[in-house]
Point group: C2
Chain length 201, copies 2
C-alpha cells in the first residue's frame, strides 16, 4: 500500500514514517506541505494523509482540493483540531480523521482501515468532546432552573414539572421565565431546543 503523508512538522513526519515503514507492505512518501502533495499525488497512492494545519491547507479547503486532484482516499491528520473539525472533514468526504495523540500501533491500523476504504474516526475523540459546553450553562442556571429545564426538554407542562420536583406551579413558571432569559429563549420551546443544542440532557 502506498501512502502519501503531508505534514510540515519534520519531527511528526519522521516519526510516522518510521513506524509505517516498519510494516513490510507499506510504502510512504512524505512531503512538507499541500503544494508538494498536490504535485506528487499523481504517482498513485492508496491513501493521502493531510495535516490539518500546514501551508496550503486553509482549513478544510485543502481537503477539497486534494479530493478533486485524486481518486485516492484522503484523510485528515491533526494535533489540535476538535471534534467539530473532524465531523466537518468527514462530511466533506474525508475517509478519516486521525488525531496525533493516537498510539503508533493504532495509527497503523487506522491507516490500513482507511486505505481499504473504511471510514475511520476515533470514537473516544468524537464523543468525549461533547462534554465541554455544559459548563457554561450549568454555571449560569441554578439547581432549580436546571431541574425545570430538564422538564422542558421532556416536553412536560409546568404542572407536571411542579409535581415532579414538588414545587408550586407558579414557582415553576418563575424558573421557566428566568431560565428562558438566561438561555436567550423567547419561550419554553426555544428554551428546550437551546438546552438540547447546548448538550444539556
Amino acid at each position: 500500500m502506498r501512502i502519501l503523508l503531508a505534514d510540515d512538522h519534520e519531527l511528526v513526519r519522521d516519526t510516522i514514517v518510521a513506524f509505517l515503514t516498519q510494516q513490510p507492505d507499506l510504502e510512504v512518501v512524505a512531503v512538507n506541505d499541500l503544494f508538494e502533495a498536490m504535485d506528487r499525488v499523481d504517482e498513485g497512492f492508496d491513501l493521502v494523509l493531510l495535516d490539518y494545519s500546514m501551508p496550503g491547507m486553509d482549513g478544510l479547503n485543502g481537503l477539497e482540493k486534494m479530493k478533486e486532484a485524486t481518486p485516492a482516499h484522503v484523510a485528515i491528520l491533526s494535533g489540535s483540531a476538535d471534534r467539530n473539525v473532524a465531523q466537518q472533514a468527514l462530511d466533506q468526504g474525508a475517509i478519516g480523521f486521525v488525531p496525533k495523540t493516537m498510539g503508533a500501533k493504532s495509527l497503523v491500523n487506522a491507516i490500513r482501515f482507511m486505505a481499504e476504504g473504511e471510514v475511520y474516526a476515533p470514537v473516544k475523540f468524537m464523543t468525549e468532546a461533547d462534554e465541554e459546553e455544559p459548563h457554561e450553562l450549568t454555571k449560569v442556571l441554578t439547581e432549580r432552573e436546571l431541574q425545570v429545564v430538564d422538564g422542558l426538554c421532556r416536553g412536560l407542562s409546568n404542572k407536571e414539572i411542579a409535581r415532579e420536583i414538588d414545587l408550586q406551579e407558579v414557582t415553576v413558571k418563575l424558573h421557566v421565565k428566568t431560565a428562558c432569559r438566561k438561555l436567550g429563549a423567547k419561550n419554553r420551546t426555544q428554551a428546550a431546543l437551546a438546552a438540547k443544542e447546548a448538550g444539556l440532557f
Copy 2:
C-alpha cells in the same frame, strides 16, 4: 493475540475463524453461546467478541456479565442491530461494535484495534443511520404540517407561524395538532424536540 468469539451461527463463526486464523499472530477460540464463552473466558484473551443475538445475551445484559467476568476488552458483533444498540453498547463499556456486513480485511483491522484497547465503531454505520427516519416523517407529514413543524422547531408561536406562511392562526393550530398526533407528541415542545431528534430541520 488471543480472541474469544461467541456466535450461535455456525456459518458466521466458521467464516470469521477462517479469516482470523490466516493472520499468523491471531489465535481464535470459537464457541456457541454466552454460557460457553463465560466458561472459557478465564483462559486468557485479549479480546472477546459477542454476538448480539445469541443464547444467553438477553440484549446487552450479556455484555454486562462478560465485562464482570473478565478484564479483557469485550466487543459486540451483530448482523442486525441498529445504531442505537451500537451506541448503547459503547456506553456500557464495550470496546467496539462490529456489524457483520463489514468486509473481512476490515474485520481483522477492527479486531487488532480493539485488542489494543482502541474503541472501534464503523463511522458509516454510526452516522448514516441518522438519515433513515426523515423519510418516514416527511412522508407522513403533509406539506403544510412540515411548514408548521419548521416553525415549531424555531420556537415560534402559532400567530408568528400564521404570519409567516400566510394562514389564519386557527388553521395553524389545526396543523400543529395533527402534526403532534403524527409525531407522537403531547404538545408543541415535544413535537419540536421529536422533529429535531428525527433530523428534520
